[in-house]
Symmetry: C2
Subunit: 334 residues, 2 copies
């Protein structure tokens, strides 16, 4: 019996992972796997809620995301990877939980509300989209997740989960389900190369963990700096300068970065010099990831086997939880 706390995170397999994922989430997982029972879920069912018209793109991304995980150092001995859709118990739990939440409560969920506006569904909100906080509650509780690292915008999802947990335990008079606690990342969000606050594949402003050295070079050279810093000798602005933001995250010599900032603000330090430094810094960070990826790519069946074994392990845990749920609800017939 493990006394480690259970932590659940995951990603939608809608594209390769990028530096924004690394800063915001992946680096934390590398730490958490040492001290926690960590599950990492590839959320294909959740991805379908807004990609149901093109499910064919998910499978390839599942492989890419697994390569990303393993090449950054998530260790299958310490982290259990699984595919959401391969755990039917999550769907079973979702259907049971739908009775414990009202339609209006889901509509009022701030995260869902914001996303519905962003996606411009208008009057045509897919039912699956409105329901996805319920599906998330099932994801978390099926493995009895105790800690869920999230961005602060996702806090309402954890609240929704815990409302369901409390309702379930109260109605069925057993403490079967475990409330989850959010771990809110204190790391500020890594901006995209265009300086926008969010790095994302769909915004086209991402540097992927799988980008080659050449691609990284091209992307950094296009990076947003200080639009008023036109000549080398002019004073430049550090605040909001994406190149400095990245150096703050990835440069292993913060003292040197501090000196560069002083020089930049005074004038006489050109963007190109800075960008070349960042290219070196990023490639130094990405090189070991790239070589691990190159190794892994030689044996994709092995990578999928890791995912398969993790999924099997998760199914056993899920079946136990589902049995307890059925027992509490008097739904065991045979």
């Amino acid at each position: 019996m493990s006394v480690k706390k259970v932590v659940l995170t995951g990603d939608r397999p809608t594209g390769s992972l990028h530096l924004g994922h690394y800063v915001g989430s992946l680096q934390q997982r590398i730490v958490l796997q040492e001290t926690h029972k960590q599950y990492v879920m590839i959320a294909d069912i959740q991805a379908l809620t807004d990609n149901y018209e093109h499910p064919e793109k998910l499978k390839g991304n599942v492989i890419q995301v697994m390569l990303d995980y393993l090449s950054i150092g998530l260790d299958p001995q310490k982290t259990t990877f699984f595919i959401q859709s391969m755990i039917p118990e999550i769907a079973e739990l979702t259907v049971l939980y739908l009775n414990l939440v009202t339609v209006n409560r889901l509509r009022r969920n701030p995260t869902v509300k914001t996303e519905i506006e962003q996606k411009e569904f208008g009057d045509s909100i897919p039912a699956g989209f409105l329901m996805y906080p319920v599906s998330q509650a099932a994801d978390i509780t099926i493995v009895k997740g105790e800690l869920v690292p999230v961005g602060s915008d996702q806090l309402p999802m954890i609240e929704q989960t815990n409302e369901i947990v409390r309702t379930f335990n109260r109605l069925y008079k057993k403490e079967v389900l475990t409330p989850a606690q959010a771990i809110i990342s204190k790391v500020p969000r890594l901006p995209g190369i265009d300086g926008k606050t969010k790095m994302s594949k769909s915004l086209g402003n991402a540097i992927f963990l799988s980008d080659s050295a050449d691609v990284v070079k091209q992307k950094v050279m296009k990076m947003y700096t200080d639009p008023f810093h036109l000549r080398v000798e002019d004073p430049g602005q550090v605040e909001g300068n994406t190149v400095f933001t990245y150096l703050d995250f990835f440069d292993t010599h913060p003292d040197q970065v501090a000196e560069l900032k002083v020089q930049y603000e005074k004038g006489g330090l050109g963007d190109v010099v800075l960008k070349k430094r960042l290219i070196d810094v990023l490639n130094a960070f990405l090189d070991p990831i790239r070589s691990r990826r190159a190794e892994l790519e030689k044996d994709i069946p092995h990578v999928m086997d890791i995912l398969k074994r993790g999924t099997q392990e998760t199914r056993e845990v899920a079946a136990n939880t589902m049995h307890e749920v059925r027992d509490a609800m008097h739904l065991i017939y045979f």
Copy 2:
């Protein structure tokens, strides 16, 4: 390979079955099992949508409903019985289908709309209740049901199913799912003993298939007739007279019933005489059912084993359908 058409019916395990079920649905199933591949589903998940606060009452009713089925002559060699919640593939399919339906479409479903009003949910419609047409689409399609006997009020549910079927086949470019056709019962509804149009357990106006001869006698003696037929010699009204309605359904001598009607309308035929006839008629109908039930009750494990075997058989069919669904959606990973 069977060339028989697949028919799916079922009941919510919220109480024992009564004469209304027999007239409206069960007698048809006894006929259908001879010529069709018939599935009969005990819809515990659907029952939970408005009984989630008291799931403990379902299990006992599952046994009662199975006893009802077997004692009226549904034959496990010809009909496959299964429990909805024991087929996880139904939940998986439900979750996938939720993406193919909008929230507004569900709200506009006439059956759901009416039921939401009847149940007086107000602003607190459980999400599971709104979604139950989607769950029904999963029930029907998981066994590739081609024919679904329903009341005319349930027609919108079949339409909803077929909308999902068409959307699925179009989006995923494979004719995986089979559209379902409603079989609308031409038999008029059996009224309750109080003369109300619907016999139902919750209205307290039902004669159950499991009622003893004494209970049937008491219920018939209370039966609604013609409220203006006060004295034996008065002319009575046949139209809307529940005793005659029941005689029309169950009396094996329609010629004698026709004569009684003439006499009743003329005057000189008392309600008690008629009711005594109906008691005999109903007990003659129920006696063989009662003796089969008495036999079955001696070995409840055997009854549950029939249900278990049917559920296992259905799971195999469900797993095949789910595999085809996953294949069409490119969701097969291992």
